[in-house]
Symmetry: C2
Subunit: 127 residues, 2 copies
DNA sequence: TATAAATGTTAGCCACGGTTAACATAATAT
DNA sequence: ATATTATGTTAACCGTGGCTAACATTTATA
């Protein structure tokens, strides 16, 4: 139940849930729907997938929480996102808004190897 | 018929068709299937889509050719691909193989603005 | 040239990730 | 406490992009 590959869209959901959680609110389905611009029904379905993957917990009609595993997965995605965004903005000089959008898509296609190199590159840059 | 957005997978097909064409062979459906690792049936469907989009021409049971528009679209994708790959290999030091794979996915998520900045960055690098 | 093999097409299936509409439950206000 | 509103769920549907199996057509070979 827990170790299948997680899809790009599921990763996006984890990311949003984590961000909402960090902002201190109890995460409701409708908050996610609003943040992502999709219907409540879509969230219901998506949460079903994430529950099966062991990434989130939710009582019937209740609030949504990340499991330990879900939290870890979310952090990983966000780290990738932030790395990409920081490269785009600080190195390439892309605008915040576009960098945000691009990072959000590219975070799903970059390989671990490339991510690693990108991180080294950004650190080297500081020196 | 001609101006809808073209999907990531369609762009991949255009890319392969262009590459095969450049290598000098007459492009058959089965060549694309082999190159992409999908079934002949999938190619048949995909070519239907690209025909409707005005990107390829094909006689029944015949060879596949890019239209002028398809050629332009293919070149655009390939330019993006090459730019990304060259950044990954030459700047980040990612291996050829991984760079190839990553470029192939990222080429579909990078925005025109970011591509432009990336190209400037690569040129600046040479100076 | 007749047959066999390769190739292209079609039909029907599947999973994914969205939608709307209808309904169930919770939360809020009167 | 009840009625209303907000939220969550479910069912049925859609398009995309794969698949296999069966069939059509071309190409190659005996």
């Amino acid at each position: 139940m827990e170790n299948q590959e997680i899809s790009a869209s599921s990763q996006d959901y984890l990311e949003i849930i984590y961000t909402l959680y960090k902002s201190g609110i109890e995460v409701r389905s409708v908050d996610i729907a609003t943040a992502m611009g999709v219907s409540r029904a879509s969230i219901s379905k998506a949460m079903g997938v994430l529950k099966n993957a062991g990434m989130v917990m939710q009582e019937k009609y209740g609030r949504i929480m990340l499991t330990t595993e879900g939290m870890a997965a979310a952090k990983k995605v966000i780290r990738t996102h932030e790395t990409l965004k920081s490269f785009l903005v600080d190195v390439l000089g892309v605008s915040e808004k576009i960098a945000q959008q691009d990072a959000c898509k590219m975070e799903h296609s970059i390989s671990p190897e490339t991510l690693k190199k990108l991180i080294s590159y950004l650190h080297k840059d500081k020196a």
